[in-house]
Amino acid sequence: MNQKIEKLIDKKGLRLDGRKPDELRPVKIDVGILANADGSAYIEQGKNKILAAAFGPRELHPKHLSLSDRMVLRCRYHMAPFSVQERKSPAPSRREVELSKVIRESLEPAIFIEQYPRTGIDIFVEVLQADGGTRCASITAASLALADAGIPMRDLVVACAAGKVDGTIVLDLMDTEDKVGVADVPVALMPNLNAITLLQMDGILTLEEFEKAVDLAIAGCRKIYAMQKEVFKNKYVSIREVEE
């Protein structure tokens, strides 16, 4: 595992897994897969395997946390101990605490929180297998779980990263590209409102490269958005057929 990877992009301009620079990894999305959650979704993006569940709007516990003018959204992003190469302790790491916060903040703009005073929604994200870009895939899945729970939303939130590896701006970095690459820019978007709800970056980019990366990430978001809607539509079409 520890061997140095010299080239992330080959002579033909293809990446380690054979993708073109602006190509997404294969994405598979499923909704309504957990019986006990109010809403749920599962996403596979490359080797990422992530479950998201939404509970609520429901009475908030402990009660003193509830707000009289709006709902409280809570989110826990958590990685399974077996999701990464070396076992990860199940206790929440500082990274997971930060990601829980930014994922929550990326989803909250989509929800009409002022219409549900004194209640709470809990979102639980479990990363079963990690392959780079887990926060983005988590947001994509979590927003579907919210929609699946029947919570009115301004738009679905979808996220995708772009970054720089070997001097090229590429879409949807996988694990090795994320670790060895120059920069990583995760972006979450409400596509119909053109609103960026999450933006982070690490690495070094010039202003021009940064703009290019954001443009590419947004293009990626729009592709995944189409899949999100498709999966959702199909689920309810099949329900209607059963009823008829």
Binding site: N2, E98, V102, E105, E108, L207
Partner: protein
């Protein structure tokens, strides 16, 4: 948070911003008065205090020897921690770090790490066995808004002020000798934070502006004007144009700060 501030005040801030003004008399892209004082804690290997208006942050760096990470055997280790000390604000509580202090520490960490500010290879004593570990502890002493920029600036100032102990290796053992050498710092990342209030951006928000802001955007800029870290915070959103505009202003502001401090 916004319940602390009256709606009148919120309206006032928004109305003034439409005219390009702010409650404290600054322009939209102006920083508050910034003061940096270095070397004020003698027991620490490096220290600095930064005043950003009334926001006050103290950073101490301790340098110890320890084991490197297995994937970077010949690099020193950087650890950043932030404490929102209860005496700094009535909203801070004692106890283990909450998500706000963890986020603050990780933003400061990312700016230093991603810009490669510290020449970490020079912190290696024996590859795979022994390296210098640099602890950066951010201590917020007074909260009047924009803790991110004040903390990032204080952290860099403390690192620039830091010294590592001299050492020699005797029979495979590391022996600390008399005297110090300065910590090798190659880059000077400066973090610039914006608040989005009513669809407009302001630089260096102070507390009352933070209480009414929809969202926050922080960008760390290195010596060449490149972006090396970004963090969006808060429950609002940004347009693509706002983000690109912020990046340009951040580059300009970071340059001004670096020039003023002679970094």
């Amino acid at each position: 948070m916004s319940s602390l501030i009256t709606r009148v005040r919120q309206k006032q801030i928004v109305q003034l911003m439409a005219k390009g003004k702010r409650l404290d008399g600054r322009g939209l892209n102006d920083y508050r008065e910034t003061k940096v004082e270095q070397g004020i804690i003698e027991r620490a290997e490096g220290s600095a205090r930064v005043l950003l208006g009334k926001t006050e942050v103290l950073v101490g760096t301790k340098i110890e020897t320890g084991e490197p990470f297995s994937d970077t055997p010949n690099e020193g280790v950087l650890t950043v921690n932030a404490e929102l000390v209860p005496l700094a604000s009535s909203t801070f509580e004692p106890g283990p770090p909450d998500e706000n202090s963890i986020e603050l520490a990780r933003i400061v960490d990312r700016g230093i790490r991603e810009s490669k500010a510290i020449d970490v290879e020079k912190l290696c004593i024996e590859a795979g066995k022994n390296v210098f570990v640099v602890f950066v502890d951010v201590y917020v002493l007074n909260h009047d808004g924009n803790l991110i920029d004040a903390s990032a600036l204080a952290a860099l100032a403390a690192l620039l002020n830091a010294k590592m102990p001299n050492y020699e290796i005797e029979e495979g053992q590391v022996k600390i000798k008399q005297g110090y050498t300065p910590l090798p710092i190659k880059r000077h990342p400066v973090t610039v934070t914006f608040a989005k209030i009513n669809d407009r951006l302001v630089v260096d928000p102070w507390l009352e502006e933070e209480q009414v802001m929809d969202a926050r955007l922080s960008m760390a800029i290195d010596d060449d004007g490149n972006i090396c870290a970004i963090q969006k915070g808060g429950t609002g959103c940004f347009t693509q144009q706002q983000v690109f505009e912020a990046a340009k202003i951040a580059r300009e502001k970071a340059g001004e700060i670096r020039k003023k401090l002679g970094w």
